[in-house]
């Protein structure tokens, strides 16, 4: 007995103690694309947080000399504006930084909404099964089948003049609306996870020591599905950013002078032939954000997938 224990012990002692997530992080670190994506994400978040404080111009600040004698947008580099200005003389870089603020907030608020609705709903459906599962999943199907854009437009119209519609320059309403139509995927994911996990023996073992059902779900089952949830949430962010930009492009969302990246593209396309930078810079910002979140999400999926363990 003692011999057996010590040999096993020595073998384990050779490598540092590693949790599942530390292993996953090691795998993620080897994925160059995901790491680049991760750094760009961090950069964008920092940009959104500190950017507007360090630029010399406010996003809504007009170049006073230009108001007096209007000459149209400034080109990049002209008059101390690195990215140039728009037709009103507002610094494009500052406006893109403020747009980053909106986009990153979209990413956060929408995905928090998705988590708050999708995880409990999916967990309830998967855990209880039967009639409750049927009911919740048909509700999910309805939400899935309802045209997203129509729903969001309806919501914005209905709440337009309430405090909710005006909060955060009209953005909160848009964020929550996008969240309300986006949780379906996560709910289905969590349901599927719980359906298979609740049949496992460790759940039976937990029952056998008298763990209450609620605690089995929250402490034993959800930690097991946290990997897929993280991946789904990360991969859902580009969709949310794009949805907000799309809505801004058709004129729903931030009230001027605040501008999201979608609004900037909308404004910029008018000047496409003569002043392409007005379209180009916001478009690059969106593309960069979408790609980096997608790469990071893909990397996380590979890293957290236990089947890929030991490969690469």
């Amino acid at each position: 007995m003692a011999v057996q224990s010590t040999t096993v012990d020595a073998k384990v002692a050779e490598r540092p103690p590693a949790s599942l997530y530390r292993d996953a992080f090691e795998r993620l670190r080897k994925n160059r694309l995901a790491i680049v994506g991760g750094f760009i994400v961090i950069f964008l978040v920092l940009l959104a947080i500190v950017g507007p404080f360090v630029t010399p111009y406010g996003y809504d600040q007009l170049a006073t000399n230009q108001v007096r004698e209007f000459r149209g947008p400034l080109n990049p580099g002209q008059g101390g504006h690195l990215f140039g200005t728009d037709q009103l003389g507002r610094d494009l870089m500052s406006r893109i930084m403020d747009g980053a603020r909106i986009s990153m907030t979209v990413a956060l608020v929408v995905q928090v909404t998705v988590l708050l609705i999708g995880v409990p709903l999916g967990a309830a459906a998967g855990w209880f099964g039967g009639r409750i599962d049927n009911l919740l999943m048909r509700f999910t199907d309805i939400v899935y089948a309802f045209p997203d854009l129509l729903f969001i437009i309806l919501l914005t119209v209905v709440f337009k003049d309430t405090w909710f519609g005006k909060a955060v320059d009209g953005l909160l309403l848009v964020f929550v609306a996008i969240g309300i139509v986006s949780w379906v995927g996560v709910a289905r994911l969590v349901r599927g996870q719980l359906l298979s996990l609740k049949e496992t023996e460790f759940v039976e073992a937990a029952r056998a020591i008298g763990v209450p059902d609620r605690r089995i779900v929250t402490r034993h089952l959800l930690p097991n599905s946290i990997g897929p949830i993280i991946v789904a949430i990360t991969l859902g962010i580009p969709g949310a950013i794009l949805a907000e930009s799309l809505l801004a492009f058709i004129g729903i969302g931030a009230t001027p002078p605040r501008a999201s990246w979608g609004t900037l593209i909308l404004d910029g396309q008018i000047w496409m032939s003569s002043e392409p930078h007005l379209l180009l810079f916001p478009a690059i910002a969106i593309a960069l954000a979408l790609l980096s979140f997608t790469f990071l999400g893909d990397g996380l999926r590979d890293a957290l997938d236990p089947k890929l363990k030991g490969k690469q």
Binding site: V8, E201, I209
Partner: protein, 380 residues
């Protein structure tokens, strides 16, 4: 430590025969006239009934599974008793209802499709069939520990070993996180894991199969239960580890005075571990007795078959291993005949026309369900 704990422990030496303590007479010094006297008298009476009763009495337990093909009679009228501190073996081939019996005792039969349709389970004087789900939950883990077959899948891969051991102490003993952790360290070293405190933060994948089963034992014993259900605890382990795990279960159950129901299809394990053995076949107990009586003088052809089908060291090389012909019966249809009749080499017409009862044999506590070995039967 109370007097009953001491007695429980003392019983473990020879608990095979249910020894009733001599009748407790009221000493003359106790007068029922005074309140103090009445209190002492009722205390003595409690002690008396506690000795008279068993830890576990199962009466006519029937557990059925309602499937698309019909009702499966997985456990069909099982009766047995268990003394405080006793080790009882439950043996039989796959699908005979051993595990479902154990799950029924903790009311963990998956429902649907399973359901305990009738019977009484009296655990330490309480009919657990009448408990609410919440009361039952508080009993599990605290008074009844459960060790599962496969330690590789019975531990949650995302939680630390320490968390999983400390959990039941936190839930049932109301210990603080720190006290529960200390308890977990103590248990972990008790089940023979070296450097227990360091290993609390490890995850199950860092443990070998045998060590995980040790952890499972630590979890099952965390609250010092009165009954330990071990459902084929060594089936998934290799032979060298098997012996260690069984020895661990034996020594810890002796130390804690825990009664054990050991479910196994390995007769060798049952012979080495148990005081008493129940042989199950097709959802019923077909033979029960003290381990020596049953192995020396089995009184049911199925038990013979089981013993005969064990490979033996003293056999000639190349001789065929004997098997029991046929398959276990379909549990969808039962009744009307001896369930072993289709496979029994000694079968007679009477076996096909009525179902035998569990009747006593020569030795004390030895019972069998067979017409052929009843007094005056045709099998000797």
């Amino acid at each position: 430590m109370t007097a009953t704990d001491d007695d429980r422990r003392a019983d473990t030496g020879s608990p095979a025969v249910a020894e009733l303590p001599e009748a407790v007479e009221l000493p003359e010094s106790i007068s029922l006239e005074t309140e103090e006297g009445r209190r002492l008298a009722s205390q003595l009476a409690d002690e008396k009934t506690k000795h008279a009763r068993k830890l576990l009495e199962v009466r006519d337990l029937k557990t059925q599974f309602f499937t698309k093909d019909g009702v499966v009679h997985a456990v069909d009228g099982v009766d047995f008793e268990l003394d405080y501190g006793e080790t009882l073996g439950l043996v039989g081939e796959s699908g005979c209802g051993k595990s479902v019996t154990a799950l029924s005792l903790t009311r963990l039969v998956p429902d649907p499709p399973g359901k305990i349709v009738s019977g009484e389970i009296i655990f330490d004087g309480v009919n657990i069939m009448k408990l609410s789900n919440e009361e039952m939950r508080l009993l599990r883990g605290k008074r009844i520990g459960f060790i599962f077959q496969d330690p590789m899948t019975s531990l949650n891969p995302t939680l630390t070993i320490g968390f999983q051991i400390a959990e039941s102490a936190r839930l049932h003993l109301g210990l603080s996180n720190r006290a529960a952790d200390d308890r977990a360290v103590e248990l972990l070293s008790k089940v023979g894991i070296p450097r227990a405190r360091d290993r609390m933060k490890d995850y199950p994948h860092q443990f070998s199969g045998g060590m995980r089963q040790r952890v499972m034992i630590a979890i099952a014993l965390a609250c010092d239960p009165m009954l330990l259900l071990a459902d084929e605890p060594t089936t998934a382990l290799d032979v060298t580890i098997q012996a260690q795990i069984l020895e661990l279960i034996r020594s810890l159950s002796d130390e804690f005075g825990t009664a054990v129901i050991l479910i196994t299809h390995d007769l060798g394990i049952a012979a080495g571990m148990c005081h008493r053995v129940n042989v199950m076949y097709a959802g019923q107990i077909v033979e029960t007795g003290l381990v020596d009586d049953l192995f020396e003088n089995p009184r049911m052809p199925y038990a013979w078959g089981l013993l005969d089908s064990l490979p033996r060291l003293d056999e000639e090389r190349g001789s065929r291993l004997r098997t029991i012909e046929g398959m276990p019966p379909d549990l969808l249809r039962t009744g009307g005949e001896c369930r072993f009749a289709p496979r029994c080499p000694y079968v007679r017409d009477v076996c096909r026309s009525a179902e035998p009862e569990l009747t006593p044999r020569q030795e004390e506590l030895h019972m069998a369900r067979c017409f052929g070995t009843e007094p005056g039967g045709w099998i000797q």
